[in-house]
Symmetry: C2
């Protein structure tokens, strides 16, 4: 039944700015913020209007958190692990080497107590957070030469960020921090031996396959990175209740659609790469096992000196183990069968 | 910036009824409709008010589609494969044996053209549809005796619904249609030899583990069933644009949160079942391979006589193969490694 429209006090017009950590060229990642903003405008007849700015337009991509914390902008869309330089705890809200996959992160954050733990930590930064996208398991990078064992890792100069870089360093590699646009020339000239980026769809655009033919999998340092919307706490508290609710629904949408969009775009991109002579290579057990061991050592060391990390990691790790025990039964058994029956 | 609230014409109050196909006891499934309704009320200050009724309260669970089609209620929350008796094409919007998993369904429906194909088909039933939940890969049922090979399937009386039942029939079993509440006594008395339901969390509540100790996996007839909201087309068209937008955002939320909730609840439920002496059993390759072959024959036969099925299945099958080729690389390799490193 539709009652006659009432004359009532309407919702206020609110204009926010969102700084994305991503360039427009990473269209699926950048698009997560557009999904949120477009839906919010459409739900409120344009009254809750969030304008999205690409990384660099207001502040550099890696300063998105600071901009929200300081109130330069009301919100951002970012990868929490960009801020491990401030505190490694940030990585637990995004992705850690050998951590949880996309579905497991959703289970943990939405239902397993993860949101509460993260919010306690984020309160130190004056922000509230909402998951807003996932790439699925990323790829393990482009290598000019094959790497078969740990010996091949020693001295390897690789563009790899965050905790993945810390693990590679323990294995004897020399991790490099290089911005997206500078990776290709460095790889072409041989200034670096290897570089990781995202997955087939994004990697293809940067053209790495032309200068490094060995494409390794899986990206064990990013089993399911969760991207987030951070909102300045004071601005959040000022929102009308209805707009807070609308923001949350739109963030759920951005979360599920980004992963679906990556899952849609990656398969044909991988096919195109393979048709260009790319060699798909699996990380050897020797390398995977050594990296796993190094990662667990890093988590133990960080837990010993960082109470915030320890508190969240302890719960995260317990949850991850329970999840993996279950996923190994129905889901992965099914997936493996289907992958071998074409 | 927050402008002063304007006095303007507010949105109308709209009251809808939603019939769920599920009983309240299946709280995670039933809860999908509550997630939608609660968020819509909260976003609209109670003005878009959808009241949720459990299966049987207005119409029986399996008549939800008819109730929406005929306008008895404005919308429903259901499992499309309940309607394979009308047309097997319905199963393609939900789950088919050896079909796509949850992430793949999202990719196909949201980005791979699936929504358009399904909407063309649903137009015959006067409905528009929105995905609204997924259980992940289900379990393969409870068996009083071990089944090791095809010989053990012959003559087996099993409670299994839909296309899964059709496949079991080709393998020589005698599928039974039994409503949820009647399964336990039938299994206890030995009137049936086996029964499938959902997964650990829902199965535990029905107590099957007390009378049939062999718990098989994976549920190859439900690799990732997608549940849907169906809305009567005329009622949908009458909604204000803002409410249509809010409905869509809330449906995305219901979709991602149901899967997360199942992923959260299933692992501890499986642990509890195992501590009760349940024997976890994997379907043998012989049975899986024969079931896969039978399923593919059924799809070919249906395609030969049903143009609607053929049109959608052809695209579905192509998409599924491309998806599986990609998932076998990064995601499943990562998942398997983690499942074997505790």
């Amino acid at each position: 039944t539709v009652s006659a429209p009432a004359i009532a006090q309407a919702q206020p017009t609110i204009k926010w700015r969102l700084t994305s950590s991503f360039p427009k060229s990473l269209d699926t990642l950048y698009g997560g913020a557009e999904v949120l903003a477009n839906r919010l405008r459409a739900m409120t007849n344009g009254k809750f209007d969030i304008r999205v700015f690409a990384g660099g337009e207001i502040v550099p991509g890696l300063q998105a958190l600071d901009a929200v914390q300081q109130g330069t902008v009301e919100c951002c869309h970012t990868a929490p692990y960009y801020y491990v330089g401030k505190d490694k705890t940030f990585a637990l809200g995004c992705s850690i080497p050998f951590g949880m996959n996309a579905r497991q992160m959703n289970a943990w954050v939405y239902y397993g107590g993860g949101q509460k733990l993260l919010d306690e930590f984020y309160a130190n930064y004056n922000i509230v957070s909402f998951m807003g996208g996932n790439s699925g398991t990323q790829m393990g990078g482009w290598f000019r030469k094959e790497i078969k064992n740990l010996g091949d890792i020693k001295g390897l100069k690789m563009r790899v960020a965050g905790l993945g870089g810390t693990v590679f360093e323990r294995l004897g590699a020399v991790p490099q921090q290089i911005a997206g646009g500078d990776i290709y020339p460095a790889l072409e000239k041989g200034t670096i031996d290897a570089a990781e980026w995202v997955g087939p769809y994004d990697d293809e655009k940067l053209g790495f396959f032309k200068v490094a033919k060995n494409y390794y999998y899986p990206g064990w340092w990013e089993p399911g990175p969760a991207f987030s919307f951070y909102v300045n706490k004071k601005e959040w508290d000022k929102l009308p209740k209805e707009y807070q609710e609308a923001f949350q629904a739109a963030a759920y949408e951005a979360n599920v659609t980004m992963l679906a969009e990556y899952d849609h775009k990656n398969p044909p991109a991988l096919s195109r790469l393979l048709s260009q002579g790319v060699k798909l290579q699996k990380y050897s057990d020797e390398i995977m096992n050594a990296a796993y061991k190094a990662a667990m050592e890093i988590y133990a060391e960080e837990s010993a000196k960082n109470p915030a990390f320890k508190k969240i990691y302890t719960e995260y790790d317990k949850y991850r183990k329970t999840q993996n025990a279950w996923f190994s039964v129905a889901d992965t058994t099914m997936d493996r069968f289907l992958q071998t029956h074409k």
